[in-house]
């Protein structure tokens, strides 16, 4: 589903990604962990071209998105992204936040988009918030809305960029629960996070990134209980 070969990314002189090869299959839940500055967010942002790779190839469902001729917007329709800072649109109601893209991009009739939005709001447990504005909601609620907004485009892949890092501790659980439900429903997910419990429970594969490369990867049981790489061992000893 996602095939990445030789992915490199530099910002000026600073090389953040130094060559990543990954094949993410349909239905896989890949959790990316690693110290800050290891390039994990950049890696995720390259997948939907919020960062343009300096070198390498990314194929999404067989389409080469690094080819300048590819229609980036079409590719992005297939991928939902959830940000650390939620990035809800503060000038729009929750309903409009969710229906904006389906109506503008997919040309979905407004009624149909609203019906779908209500279903999604129920799914994330916020069925009564359709008329509220983002500033009226807590961080955890905003992040759940952001997930619903991404799902409204009916994506094949969901990307999560540290979705719980900006939340108060008591709100982390509600967001992770929504993500867990999504994983159980079979969504292909790539999640950058510091929540090791979530990685252990949900991931089909964990990638440990450091210094711009994937240092170690494996099933969560193996990687967490028996890390082979020295860097992984030292990182896990600090966070677990």
């Amino acid at each position: 589903m996602i095939k990445i070969t030789g992915l490199k990314k530099s910002f000026g002189d600073l090389q953040v990604l130094k060559g990543i090869d990954q094949h993410i299959k349909k239905g896989e839940k890949v959790v990316v962990i690693g110290p800050s500055g290891s390039g994990k967010s950049t890696f995720l942002r390259c997948i939907n071209l919020l960062e343009v790779p300096t070198e390498g190839e990314i194929l999404i469902e067989g389409e080469n998105i690094t080819d300048p001729k590819t229609n980036v917007n079409k590719i992005r329709e297939k991928m939902g992204m959830v940000f650390q800072q939620f990035n809800l649109f503060p000038h729009l109601s929750i309903m409009d936040n969710i229906t904006l893209a389906p109506v503008k991009v997919k040309k979905m009739p407004k009624e149909q988009a609203e019906k779908r939005a209500k279903e999604l709001l129920e799914m994330v447990g916020l069925g009564d918030k359709a008329d509220a504005y983002p500033a009226q909601l807590s961080g955890g609620q905003q992040q759940r809305i952001a997930i619903a907004r991404a799902l409204a485009m009916d994506p094949d892949i969901m990307l999560f960029d540290e979705p719980t890092s900006a939340l108060d501790p008591e709100m982390v659980g509600e967001v992770l629960q929504v993500m867990k439900n999504l994983a159980d429903a079979g969504m292909t997910m790539v999640v950058v996070t510091h929540e090791m419990g979530f990685a252990r429970e949900v991931a089909s594969r964990v990638l440990f990134m450091d210094e711009g490369i994937v240092m170690e990867e494996g099933k969560p049981d193996e990687l967490f209980s028996n890390p082979k790489n020295e860097r992984t061992q030292s990182f896990l000893s600090k966070v677990l």
Binding site: N73, E77, Q85, A101, K104
Partner: protein, 224 residues
């Protein structure tokens, strides 16, 4: 002549107050339409300035640079005596065009600042949902930017009310023109000039107070 007689000659005799009313009307009319024209030009120029296209960027750069680097009065004279010389066109419209073009350069910078003040995460969220750059700008960034710059735009309108006084170089339809008409009949400078100073001051005071209230209310609604 006593001060009362001077006031009588300025305002009451031959219903001269009508000139001041009509003058103030034209001053406000020109300012309002000029700020609207300036807004259209300003948004266009700001978007060009922020675009990746080097030619568009250069055009708006030169426009803003030239307009801000030359006196408003000179711009008005050029537009009236050179550009619109061959055509008969109402003078207040010439004023709207001249002050609109002038104001556009300042509003462009206001709009540019407004757009840049919106967190880049908003654009990324829009783009990640599949919206094009133009759709993201129109539906997400612009509405927020415009709300943020509304006070600055209202302030630009107030500034224009004072600036439009230079239209007296080509016409006497505005408030200054009313004073000059009276002055040419009564040979009295003090009363008409001090009178329009008071009128300008009162109108601008009322508008600034109103603007202050609207700003306070907007700040409150942001906290909801």
């Amino acid at each position: 002549m006593s001060i009362l007689e001077k006031l009588y000659a300025t305002f009451i005799f031959e219903e001269r107050w009508r000139w001041f009313v009509s003058g103030l009307g034209y001053t406000l009319l020109i300012s309002l339409f000029a700020v609207l024209l300036g807004l259209v030009i300003g948004i266009l120029m700001a978007l060009m300035r922020l675009s990746k296209n080097k030619i568009l960027k250069a055009i708006s750069g030169v426009y803003i640079d030239v307009i801000r680097g030359t006196p408003t009065m000179v711009q008005l004279l050029i537009i009236y005596y050179i550009i619109f010389a061959p055509v008969a066109i109402p003078k207040w419209i010439v004023g709207v065009i001249a002050f609109g073009i002038n104001s556009g350069a300042y509003i462009a910078e206001i709009v540019r600042g407004g757009i840049l003040s919106i967190n880049v995460g908003q654009t990324e969220a829009g783009r990640s949902l599949g919206l094009t750059q133009a759709q993201t700008m129109m539906s997400i960034v612009m509405p927020q930017a415009m709300k943020n710059i509304l006070p600055a735009l209202a302030n630009e309108f107030i500034v224009l009310i004072k600036e439009t006084a230079v239209i007296g170089m080509v016409s006497n339809i505005d408030l200054v023109g009313a004073a000059r008409k009276v002055q040419s009949l009564t040979y009295d400078f003090a009363v008409p000039l001090l009178s329009i100073a008071v009128i300008y001051y009162v109108v601008i005071k009322i508008l600034s107070l109103g603007l202050g209230r609207i700003e306070a209310r907007m700040r409150k609604s942001d906290k909801r």
